[in-house]
């Protein structure tokens, strides 16, 4: 049997259903944002770590030109090394029929018939290659899906100059290729990169690599860090064309995956932090007002002998009902959206399985935050009432102190009319309430801005920055640098309108003990097709004899303009050069150095050579140009700008869009909840005054104008603050993510600001209409009879 006070609770909940529901929605939106993003991140993180552990992802990776197998034993003797796994890895051209752009096949050796010691394979379908069976391969799932390939199908490959038809025996996944891409390739194309595994005893002879390897992975003993063995590995491999060993953090797929996951983790921290705090703030403000309206009932309960604790508990129950209602809704929506987002990321990160997991702790934390905020608001309000002697709490508050203000003296009352004067005085009388209301609405506006700006930034990244930087229609990359004169054949292809050579040199940037492996991109002296631009889309001029580096790279190395860094060149004649940093470039993509080609060649003491050619082409000739390029043996890859843009839209764009939609939805919910509750509470607080005005002969229109005028002033004051707040939050969000792969500009479009304003104003108008309807039905006598 429910006690009387519990019945009061239930009936209050039913009576306040509009407010209970909207407050619960605000809580739900805050919690859902947290649950969605946090659970997506933690599910992906868990998928990754369990995948890595089960399939023995290696700790150290190194590539080299060629070394005899005996060298692997020397590496195995390095203290701290537990397992070594030497392999043959070779890129080949795949002349896929019907595909104008050539695809690259990466053949990786496996010990067929035996266990793979490191970087194990997950066999999705088919079987492993049989030992010594010519041409049997496993193909990575992403490529197989893109081309609809199945076990039993064949792929043509040019291996060591010979055309071979490879037989697909199985479809596989590898922890080494969760993100099948090469570094600098920020929008990988599944159709054009085929990771394939082949028996070592077949692959070795095909490349004259019997008894030799050109790639080695290491597993370390527990407690040994990769950094400790890198030097020793590099010393052993140096004479064999070692390109520098890296730890698993720098392994390409893992590096990209880390970047994405840490960005997601940051987003999953910052966005929900903002959303949940705003929801908590609003919960606090709205509940304390709601409880203030029960001031008289609280006093009566006290007069009847209820203790402060019992009364406090009664209102905490009310808060709990609202929060739990919101929490259940928020967790359910969050889990639904989280599993959707996890699946979406899953299309992009190839794990054997995406297990969506909703951590209990994730849900619990969000509920706790909301409960604490709600409790704080409720207890504060209850405390303010029970602190008063019941007799005083039952009396209407003392007549407010109004003062004749400057406005009155100016005779503004006559100009604005009596209603406007009442609005002004009421706002002035309770400045704190006005400020809190406006702040609450401003927070909602800010959330709308911050929820939506991600897409603006992404659009700007693609439409402005990428557009200004990469102005070539087609980029052709060569296997080896070729003399500029040799590239002329390409430049003179029919349909080529303009061309420009470029060179990318793999290097290690070093400053003291800090280093990064990356590339120096050398460009034309007056570049037109591949330019260097800042995130504000302005072109950066590369100084004639200087080195420019990405600002982010400068931060990592701890160097600024004028500081010198060592550059270890890892191609051709190798060697180390020392350069002063002439300019920092706030670029959006990657970490690299930039030089003019002429100065690079002078420094390297080389003849002019290019490793890529940027082309502007007549669209009508595009397919023909592709066909001709495919026939050239020196061409390693051809990239079309339009397909990069398309893939970026498909991948980053899709996740950004989904995140934006979700956050916008939550932001709008919070905005509507706040504005509506603000209006409702104002109505309850002022209904007595307004009824008195009606009795004095004011029309419905006039009293509506008084109340709605107050709301309008609060909203108008909130809009600019909210837009500023949103802008500030957007900066905070972007500063919290620090990806090395790409860095988004902070761009907030006019549409985003307009959207935030529109949602707020529309919820204001709708709330006003609802309140107006209540005002029209104001029971004058009843309102005046009750004492508050």
């Amino acid at each position: 049997m429910l006690s009387a006070i519990d019945k009061k609770l239930m009936r209050d909940v039913v009576r306040l259903k509009g407010q209970v529901l909207t407050i619960a929605l605000v809580v739900a939106a805050g919690i859902a944002s947290y649950v969605t993003m946090r659970s997506t991140w933690s599910s992906l993180e868990t998928s990754r770590s369990s995948y890595y552990a089960r399939y023995r992802f290696a700790d150290v990776f190194a590539t080299l030109k060629r070394a005899p197998d005996s060298i692997a034993h020397r590496i195995a003797d390095i203290p701290g090394v537990a397992v070594v796994y030497p392999r043959i890895v070779r890129d080949v051209m795949l002349p896929i029929e019907g595909m104008p752009e050539p695809a690259t096949g990466r053949l990786i050796s496996i010990p067929a018939g035996r266990d793979i010691p490191l970087n194990g394979l997950y066999l999705r379908s088919g079987r492993m290659p049989e030992p010594r069976q010519d041409d049997e391969v496993l193909v990575i799932e992403s490529f197989a899906k893109a081309h609809n390939l199945h076990p039993g199908d064949r792929i043509p490959a040019v291996i060591n100059g010979k055309w071979r038809d490879l037989l697909i025996v199985g479809i596989a996944l590898s922890p080494e290729y969760v993100f099948p891409a090469s570094l600098g390739d920020f929008a990988p194309d599944d159709r054009r990169l085929a990771i394939m595994w082949m028996d070592r005893d077949v692959l070795g002879p095909a490349f004259q690599m019997e008894g030799a390897f050109n790639d080695i992975s290491l597993h370390l003993q527990p407690g040994v860090s990769g950094q400790e063995v890198l030097g020793a590995v590099d010393r052993i491999l140096e004479p064999y064309g070692g390109l520098g060993a890296v730890t698993s953090e720098k392994q390409v797929s893992n590096f990209i995956l880390n970047g994405e996951l840490s960005q997601l983790e940051q987003f999953a921290t910052v966005f929900p932090f903002i959303f949940l705090s705003v929801a908590a703030f609003l919960l606090n403000v709205v509940l304390s007002r709601l409880i203030n309206l029960q001031r008289q009932q609280i006093a009566v309960l006290k007069a009847l002998g209820y203790s402060n604790r019992q009364i406090g508990l009664h209102y905490l129950q009310l808060v709990s009902i609202i929060v739990v209602l919101g929490a259940l809704c928020g967790i359910a929506v969050g889990a639904w959206l989280g599993s959707g987002m996890t699946n979406m990321y899953g299309q992009w990160f190839r794990f054997p399985a995406q297990d969506y997991r909703l951590d209990f702790s994730v849900a619990a934390v969000s509920v706790m935050v909301s409960l604490v905020a709600g409790f704080a608001g409720a207890l504060l309000a209850v405390r303010n009432v029970v602190r008063l002697p019941p007799a005083e709490a039952m009396r209407p508050p003392a007549p407010a102190s109004y003062r004749v203000s400057l406005l009155d003296r100016l005779g503004l009352g006559r100009v604005l009319g009596q209603a406007a004067m009442m609005i002004v005085r009421e706002l002035r009388r309770r400045p704190l309430r006005t400020i809190f209301s406006s702040l609450g609405i401003a927070a909602a506006v800010g959330i709308l801005v911050v929820g939506r700006f991600g897409y603006d930034s992404f659009e700007s990244l693609i439409n402005t920055i990428l557009h200004e930087e990469q102005r070539a229609d087609v980029t052709v990359a060569f296997f080896e640098p070729i003399p500029a004169s040799a590239a002329r054949e390409i430049v003179h292809l029919p349909g080529v309108l303009d061309s420009e050579g470029g060179r990318a040199i793999p290097v290690r940037f070093r400053s003291g003990h800090r280093y990064r492996d990356s590339t120096i991109i050398a460009l034309a002296d007056q570049p037109e097709l591949r330019r260097v631009v800042n995130r504000d889309a302005r072109q950066v001029e590369i100084p004639a004899d200087g080195l420019a580096i990405s600002r982010k790279l400068g931060e990592i190395l701890g160097v600024g303009v004028g500081d010198s860094i060592d550059i270890e060149i890892r191609e051709g004649n190798r060697g180390t050069r020392r350069f002063a940093v002439a300019t920092l470039v706030d670029d959006a993509f990657g970490l690299q150095g930039y030089m003019r080609m002429t100065s690079l060649h002078r420094v390297m003491g080389q003849e002019s050579a290019v490793s890529m050619v940027y082309l502007r082409v007549d669209p009508a000739w595009l397919d023909e140009i592709h066909r001709r390029l495919k026939e050239m043996p020196e061409v390693a890859g051809v990239t079309r700008m339009d397909s990069i843009v398309k893939r970026m839209r498909d991948q980053m764009g899709q996740s950004m869009l989904m995140m934006t939609i979700i956050l916008t939805l939550f932001g709008s919910t919070i905005a509507i909840g706040v504005v509506y509750n603000n209006a409702r509470v104002a109505l309850s607080m002022r209904s007595r005054d307004l009824a008195s005005l009606r009795v004095l002969g004011f029309t419905r229109r006039e009293i509506s104008a008084v109340l709605l005028g107050e709301l309008a002033v609060q909203i108008l004051a909130a809009l600019p603050i909210g837009l500023l707040l949103g802008t500030y939050w957007a900066h905070a969000v972007m500063e919290s993510v620090d990806p090395e792969v790409y860095r988004m500009p902070i761009v907030i479009s006019t549409q985003t600001y307009a959207f935030a304003v529109a949602v707020t104003v529309v919820s204001g108008i709708v709330s006003a209409l609802l309140v107006r309807r209540k005002l029209d039905h104001l029971d004058l006598i009843a309102v005046l009879k009750t004492r508050e």
Binding site: A303, N308, M394, A398, S401
Partner: protein, 234 residues
């Protein structure tokens, strides 16, 4: 006769907005076992303030209040709560029922926390509302609401019943009905009762009448013979 409730030298100063209001200026007043006392005074004479202070609903600026051996003006929050819960029942001019609870539930609000209460139905029977148990305040007339309030006040079997202008918001006939109920509670349950009114004729139904004027005791009169509520005219 021993005083069950005793106020000594009570002064109360309110700060209403920007003015100080001297509601009580050194008032002494006692309430004796089982008596029916009326506190008479014009609006603003300080009678409600005195009653609230004696009932532990308000605190005086100066002076002391005793309930038996307990000094209310020195009691902590728990002692005051216990006092209100077990010993004193209030009836207010504006009833102060909880609008979301029925008559029975409004009474149950008290019976659920008191030590030796009447059944809610029994208390409502006592005030003649046995038939309207499940009506919400909004479905009851003013007089009925006030009777629910009385039932709620007496259901805990309080030692003292304090009524602040119980008929103030009611018409004559209903007012008489409410006074009859209060008189009956005093007579049948022996509850010490104090009723505040500005309505001089009501004083004739009391054992003793204290008249307040301008925050001070103006006179104290013992009625030789009590009138019955139904004999009242005003």
């Amino acid at each position: 006769m021993s005083a069950i409730l005793e106020a000594r030298a009570i002064t109360k100063i309110y700060r209403m907005g920007e003015v100080d209001v001297h509601a009580l200026r050194g008032v002494d007043a006692s309430l004796y076992e089982s008596e029916f006392m009326v506190l008479l005074g014009a609006s603003g004479s300080g009678k409600s303030t005195l009653l609230n202070i004696m009932g532990g609903l308000d605190v005086p600026t100066m002076g002391r209040v005793f309930y038996g051996d307990m000094e209310l003006t020195d009691a902590d929050e728990d002692e005051l709560t216990e006092f209100r819960r077990q010993s004193v029942g209030f009836v207010f001019q504006f009833y102060n029922l909880i609008p979301s609870l029925t008559a029975r539930e409004n009474v149950a609000l008290v019976t659920e926390i008191a030590d030796d209460p009447l059944e809610p139905a029994e208390a409502l029977d006592l005030v003649g509302l046995g038939e309207r148990l499940d009506h919400f305040p909004a479905q009851l007339s003013g007089g009925e609401q006030q009777r629910v309030a009385i039932a709620r006040a007496v259901a805990k079997r309080p030692a003292v019943l304090l009524c602040d202008e119980p008929t103030g918001a009611l018409d004559f006939k209903t007012g008489i009905l409410v006074l009859e109920v209060i008189a009956r509670v005093n007579r049948e349950l022996g509850t010490t009762t104090a009723v505040i009114t500005h309505n001089a004729p009501i004083a004739s139904i009391a054992d003793r009448v204290i008249t307040l004027a301008d925050g001070q005791v103006h006179s104290e009169v013992h009625n030789e013979s009590k009138a019955q509520p139904e004999e009242l005219r005003w």
